[in-house]
Amino acid sequence: MGYEISLLTIMGISVIGALSLNMILGFCGQISLGHAAFLGIGAYTSAMLTKAGIPFLLALPAAMLLSGLIGVIVGFSSLRVRHDFLAITTMGVSFLFTGLVRKQEFLGGEMGIAAIPDPGYGKVGFMLFVFGLAIALTLFSLYIKRSWMGFTFDTVADDEDTATLLGVNVSGYKLMAFALGTAFAGLAGALYAHNVKFIDPESFGFIESITILSMVVIGGTGSVWGVISAAVVLSVFPLWFQFIDDYKLLVYGGLLCAVMLLSPEGVSSLVVKLFNKIFKREKAIHVNN
């Protein structure tokens, strides 16, 4: 039972992490190859604060705030550069994070931080807490899509120059996407820290960034339900199959490439297309009858 609970908790945290990247990449079309660094910022913030005696429920928003602030700073680089270069910049953020943290004595350096305080909800309680947040973030994501902010994100993602000529403050919207996405990444990171109770720089390295990216791309960038499904499946695979854990980068990298080549809109859109095909054929038969 304990094993299932920890599995479900990890799933919930992964869903939050994937939905957070989906706001940047899926909604606003801005690539980020260093998203795990923002989970890291949230994780370290919350771990340090709770170790200093600050209550967990205060440490969580602080983690989101710091992560979101740094996210906006990185977002500024998305204003200056085009897509391919933004990929490199955000990848740099990932290496910068691990590189910097590794050298900071007060953050535990290479050894990381252990004995991170337990929120005190019990295992099941914490799982339900994570689920509650994951559901809230799902609802929020669906709401954004319906709002005029989501409508504008769609336009910016499709064509920035056109958005500009429709009077859209493209920079403002991009920064908003980065702020939201990285703040929720901070939340996912903080939850991770209090779940595992140990973090080190490698917990938020490039491989983790690619893992989150795979969830979003395979799920179908922008599709909330697709991303959730991919996060659920991909977060438990490495726990079930040791060889996937050993060859994470290879497996996820391969999956990423396969999806990009076969169905750039993600597996979910492939399923929708198949469904439509079958459904439409049935409809056609009905019409013939």
């Binding site: 709401y143 954004i144 319906r146 709002s147 005029w148 902010m149 409508f151 504008t152 769609d154 336009t155 993602a157 499709d158 064509d159 120059d161 056109t162 500009t164 000529l165 429709l166 009077g167 859209v168 403050n169 493209v170 403002g172 919207y173 920064l175 908003m176």
Partner: protein
Amino acid sequence: MLTINNITVDFGGVKAVDNVSFSFQDRELLGLIGPNGAGKTTLMKVITGTVKPTSGSVSLDKSNLNGKAPYLRIRAGIGISQQIVHPVNSMTVLENVTFAAGHSKTDQVFLSLFKTNRAIEKEEALNLLKMVEIEDVADEKPENLPLGYIKRLELARALALKPKLLLLDEPLAGLNQSEAERLSNTLLKLNQQGQNIILIEHNLTEVVRICQRLVVIDNGKKIGEGEPKTVMNNPVVRTAYLGRS
């Protein structure tokens, strides 16, 4: 209301626009014409701010636009339908226009999150699609549509911004003569209702028919300005056109 002061645009040696000045009067329908490569589109881009002039200035309602970001110029009341079409292909035709109609809901980044209702904008958009006669493709994605449809989509989208000044770069492209005539009549009617329009067009029949005034440029230089019939009889203008084609 709009003043172009000594605008020069130098693309690394090629002067696409060469010291052009003219002013646009309130309630005008002004035709900006000239042979291919004359510099008309470049001049439009100087007005919207996507091309920076080498020298000269543009002012709208007496405030200088130089240095103002393009999106702020649009918010200040300029609407453009570009020569090269840029529909948002991931959205339907109706959504394209609906989005533009909601410009007042998207001008504050943070507040746009708290607005969800699209009913009014959708209705406005549908009316505009009817006006430009493409309501039959409202629910289609633009990528599959012929040019004449997309050009009209962009016109509707520019109109949805309710601009003080509408810039149209070859809106009649891709239309047959009877469609072009009907759309020209629509433009004329809009102008009579008070819409300011600068029209770039190669369909001179329609230009001469509906515009009150023409500005002619050739090789980046202004070579004529005035009442359409008079301008078209100007020998310099005639050679500019005949000498090329």
